[in-house]
Symmetry: C2
Subunit: 271 residues, 2 copies
């Protein structure tokens, strides 16, 4: 029989972006079993309202709980900003998001106490990063910019052409004029555009990708609860999407780093 | 009591793009009452599968039928490509899409018999325009290009900056090399980018926007059934969205040409 420790970690995102987080979790915790859900039938979340994103997050969490997960990682900044509090209120298992880990990493990295945060319209409007950073260190000034076109550019695979550079310049010039030394990539799609963003902001700015620190937080949370999987064998990884898997498999490789096997479709409501 | 003629026309789209079609309908048929539904909680449709888009279209049509519409205009190219056949099979009222009217207008416009069509990934993959044009005139060669970034650019309001021009050049150069003389804007968002597209393809290419010809088709269909509204008073226009109305109202003005009043939210399933 499966022990508590062997139960999978549930990870979800509006689509493929959260695979960058899953990748770090599987690197840090190779024996953990995981279930990933990408809500590809309703992607993206970044331009949708708080109520809608919170409702979608609850539906997905219900699905993952019925699949027997031992904790949930909300691997989507918009869902972390809009749905995390509600999920924590309703679920008995631990739930972490990507915003607190990202904020922690930024606070640790900055020397000038001037941090920039970029994300979707929803994440930026929520002020979730500004609050999280302020709570950790009130001396830090945080400025933000919404970058709605970065997600479609990443999905289109336009990683480093002249269009992506021009878009990055338009979005980031304002932040650069404020002399930030640290920039949080506050959307799980953005690490894919890291090279272009880095070129535009220059070598003096540290880019923070919350994937690695979210993986750390996952480990700490499981260790605290005594449910880290200490098996020596490699964990199994299962993938669900709400729309047909074809596109997810094709584009997902760029995000997960390896081919996605056995991706299944689910309509969350008809489980 | 409301007569059959006074029943509203139902118009739907994944979001705001279909407002360009609604605008033409209200111009041509000012006394008609209309109900518009924008599925903003699940927008966009262009990168989703046929099954998912067809399922969404049926849910929305059910909603509109319960609201008492006398016909349905699918003011979304992806939903027309993927959902129209199913809607016609299941509904007793007339249903038209935007693809046949757009194809008709293109066939009428071309002199060289070389037509280009641009649209979302879904619309282009469906080959719906290629088939519709071939049926009307087998001598015409149709070439297509998917332009996934045009929708987010239009939504972002980047109508005519250097980024939009660069994106348009990347997408359209291939088609231009095939010496087309007519280009179908096969997505209801694209008319907003008309000036940039026109600049890139040059004055020798006629741009076809299916909005006007869809309005014509709406009129013909209602006249054929004897249910044109012949009142002399201006019709009422009602708007529903599936996500919070705020963004729809803010961005929709650019598409509808005037302020959207009294926009209500609905969850289609909980009517």
């Amino acid at each position: 029989m499966r022990t508590d420790k062997e139960r999978p970690i549930g990870v979800f995102d509006s689509g493929i972006g959260g695979l960058t987080v899953l990748r770090e979790i599987t690197r840090l915790l190779p024996s953990e079993n995981t279930i990933y859900l990408g809500d590809t039938a309703r992607v993206p979340y970044g331009n949708k309202s708080k109520d809608t994103v919170a409702r979608y997050s609850l539906e997905i969490a219900d699905f993952l709980v019925r699949k027997g997960v031992k904790m949930i990682v909300v691997a989507c900044n918009t869902a972390s900003a809009f749905g995390l509090a509600e999920l924590r209120k309703k679920l008995a298992i631990p739930v972490i998001g990507v915003i607190e880990p990202g904020a922690k990493a930024a606070v640790k990295a900055t020397r000038s106490n001037k941090v920039g945060v970029i994300g979707t319209e929803g994440t930026i409007k929520s002020s979730a990063y500004v609050s999280a950073i302020k709570t950790l260190n009130p001396d830090i000034t945080t400025n933000t910019a919404a970058c709605p076109l970065f997600v479609p550019l990443a999905e289109e695979g336009w990683i480093d052409n002249e269009v992506t550079t021009a878009v990055a310049k338009r979005y980031l010039t304002g932040l650069m004029n404020l002399s930030i030394d640290t920039l949080v990539l506050g959307c799980t799609h953005y690490p894919v555009l890291k090279e272009t963003i880095s070129m535009v902001v220059g070598p003096s700015v540290t880019l923070i990708d919350s994937a690695a620190s979210t993986a750390e937080e996952t480990k700490t949370t499981l260790a605290d609860k005594g449910i880290l999987n200490d098996n020596k064998t490699a964990g199994g990884h299962f993938f669900y999407v709400t729309d047909s898997p074809e596109r997810f498999v094709a584009v997902g490789r760029r995000f997960f780093g390896e081919r996605l096997e056995g991706v299944e479709i689910t309509h969350l409501d008809t489980l």
